[in-house]
């Protein structure tokens, strides 16, 4: 894993500094540059399509004017407000104006919070980011070794226990586990707080909970709640991959060369099963970042998941549109990074890509 991260950083280095070389001695040449440009163009088209879909979809779910005004507003104020927000224009004009403002970097203002949407979302993002990172990394670093062990000794008692636990993680709904966690650790035992973010400290001017001990006590339960499903998935993936590769000739040949089981597991098997793990890691990271809604609601975690739920119930159109577009962007970015990671992990893909 360490080697993979090193390669990853080398690769990221090559994106920003084309003079560097890709691992494997392959030059960062015109083909690679062409590949990046092609991906960028694809991303722009996808974003455009998404923006149209999101705009039309959000337009269809109700009239925000009732949210914007108090019920006792006069007809004159009502009409002035409609005009001010351009709500009297046909859909395509509104969309065009939206795109024009977007091109200037303006996502609009939240109806409810009366502040720029981008600022609003970015102010909530760090909370979700730290929660998600903790959950996804925790699930991966615990799930992959345990899954590999379960695949290595599939008939042992420990392997069966690990698998039974992973079935639990798969089949029990998140909200239920969240409630049980609160009931157990917050209410009954009183060890950990039931909700909120706790004390934060600033890093680059952004508040994070993970920088204080108190913050960790608030992070623990929601992160655990979020990670259980991912943990179960990582266990299954690692187990299936390990079982398969352990039976293959590559492992047998390594054994015939006298390599130890530990070397075989962490130098051969881990590298061979890394691709599906990285894929799931990326997808889980993206979807959790975007939709940690249930957990954030249960634990009153002030992240973007909670923001989007609130904005839907209050019909805060600009927040919804900007948020969904941000999510789409995030997925495109993650897919791209996962693709790059593939190339770092599997030299065969690297060759195919450069061709």
């Amino acid at each position: 894993m360490r080697e993979a991260t090193v390669k990853m950083s080398v690769l990221l280095g090559t994106i920003f500094n084309p003079a560097r070389r890709l691992p494997g001695g392959q030059a960062f040449d015109g083909d690679m540059l062409g590949y990046f440009l092609q991906r960028l163009a694809q991303a722009l088209v996808v974003m455009l399509v998404i923006s149209a879909l999101v705009f039309a979809g959000v337009y269809g779910i109700g009239n925000p004017i009732d949210v914007l005004l108090s019920p006792d507003a006069t007809q004159a104020i009502r009409e002035a407000t409609i005009k001010a927000y351009g709500l009297d224009q046909p859909l395509w004009v509104q969309y065009r104006d939206f795109l024009l403002r977007l091109a200037a970097g303006d996502f609009g203002r939240s109806f409810v919070f009366n502040m720029p949407v981008l600022e609003l979302i970015l102010s909530r993002l760090p909370a979700t980011l730290e929660l998600t990172l903790l959950a996804v990394f925790g699930a991966t670093f615990a799930g992959v070794p345990l899954g590999m062990y379960a695949g290595y000794r599939p008939d042992g008692i420990a392997a069966r226990a690990i698998m039974a636990f992973s079935v639990l993680g798969f089949s029990v709904p998140t909200f239920w586990i969240g409630l049980v966690l609160i009931l157990t650790f917050a209410v009954t035992l009183g060890w950990l707080p039931a909700g909120g973010r706790g004390e934060t400290a600033d890093l680059f001017g952004v508040p994070f909970s993970f920088l204080t001990l108190d913050g960790w006590s608030y992070l623990a339960l929601p992160a655990l709640n979020l990670s259980l499903f991912k943990f179960a998935m990582m266990v299954r993936l690692a187990r299936a991959g390990t079982r398969e590769t352990m039976l293959g000739d590559a492992v047998k040949f390594a054994r015939a060369a006298g390599e130890s089981e530990w070397t075989i597991l962490h130098r051969h098997v881990l590298r061979l099963i890394a691709i599906p793990i990285v894929t799931v890691f990326g997808l889980e990271f993206g979807s959790t970042l975007a939709f940690a809604v249930v957990t954030e609601t249960i634990f009153s975690w002030p992240g973007v998941g909670k923001l989007i739920i609130d904005s839907i119930s209050s019909l805060d159109r600009p927040v919804m549109v900007a948020y969904l577009m941000l999510v789409a962007f995030l997925f495109i970015l993650i897919n791209f990074l996962v693709d790059i990671a593939y190339a770092a992990l599997d030299p065969r893909l690297r060759a195919a890509r450069a061709r």
Partner: protein, 322 residues
Amino acid sequence: MTALLEVRDLATHFATRTGVVRAVDGVTLSLAPGEIIGLVGESGSGKSVTGFSILGLVDPPGRIVRGSVRFEGRELVGLPHGELRSLRGRRIAMVFQDPSATLNPVLTILDQMRLALEAHERIGKAAARARAAEILTRVGIPDAGRRLDSYPHQLSGGMRQRVAIAIALLNRPALVVCDEPTTALDVSIQAQILAEMKSLARESGTALIWISHDLSTVSALASRILVMYAGRVVEEGTVGDVLSAPRHPYTRGLLDSLPSLATPGQDLRQIPGAMPSLSDPPPGCAFAPRCAHAVDACTAMPDLVGAGGRGVRCHRPLGDAP
């Protein structure tokens, strides 16, 4: 001369859902230092399992159920895993049939060779690289220094198999089990590798067990041949004896099906029928149902009889006066 390897009555069975597969069932063979023997037989006769059993590399549900493997005076059956591991790659190595599956596709050649070196000694990066380059050159890989940084998919099948052979020879083992290493390659490459293996083995005094289903390949390389059928050795002898005067009807059948020995223009003769199921073999000689010479006595298992390394497991061996 003391033997390098002595396998006695080795039996490896697989406990499967449909019954016990007796893949190897009483193999006895011995090998002097530096000697090359050929192990031949058709597909499924137990050649690979014999090779894996010698290295203790049988995967579950397989298990060595009886017999002994003595190597350099040590009993390998039942040896603790750590000691066995330290012998593998250092004193006994193995090369597999399919070069595209044996190398790890996501590691460079150098990384894989370093892992094989580091399994047995502490060795610095530069020293490992030098050793790896040297051995690659010896197995006939041109421009070895540059090849070290390649990944397996960047090499041809023949080159990959040479790399696998190089990894097997890396720690100068006394014995290499070669499990059909040239079967997946085309004929000209096959001949090259065969010739190189022969001279490499002679130079370094390495003994080889060369597994093949092809008698002609083996005869180009080995001094002695063991013919396997259904998990047992049915005939053994020097290459000359076995090829010119086969005594087991099965060996005769194998020879008759060789293109190189057939009269031009004449159809190759094949052995009729197929090998019996190893989980439910017929009583007696396993070849009897396919044998033109079978008699009633063949329903009892014949012993491997003979002396001086020449033996046959048959009630009515060929060449005997009737």
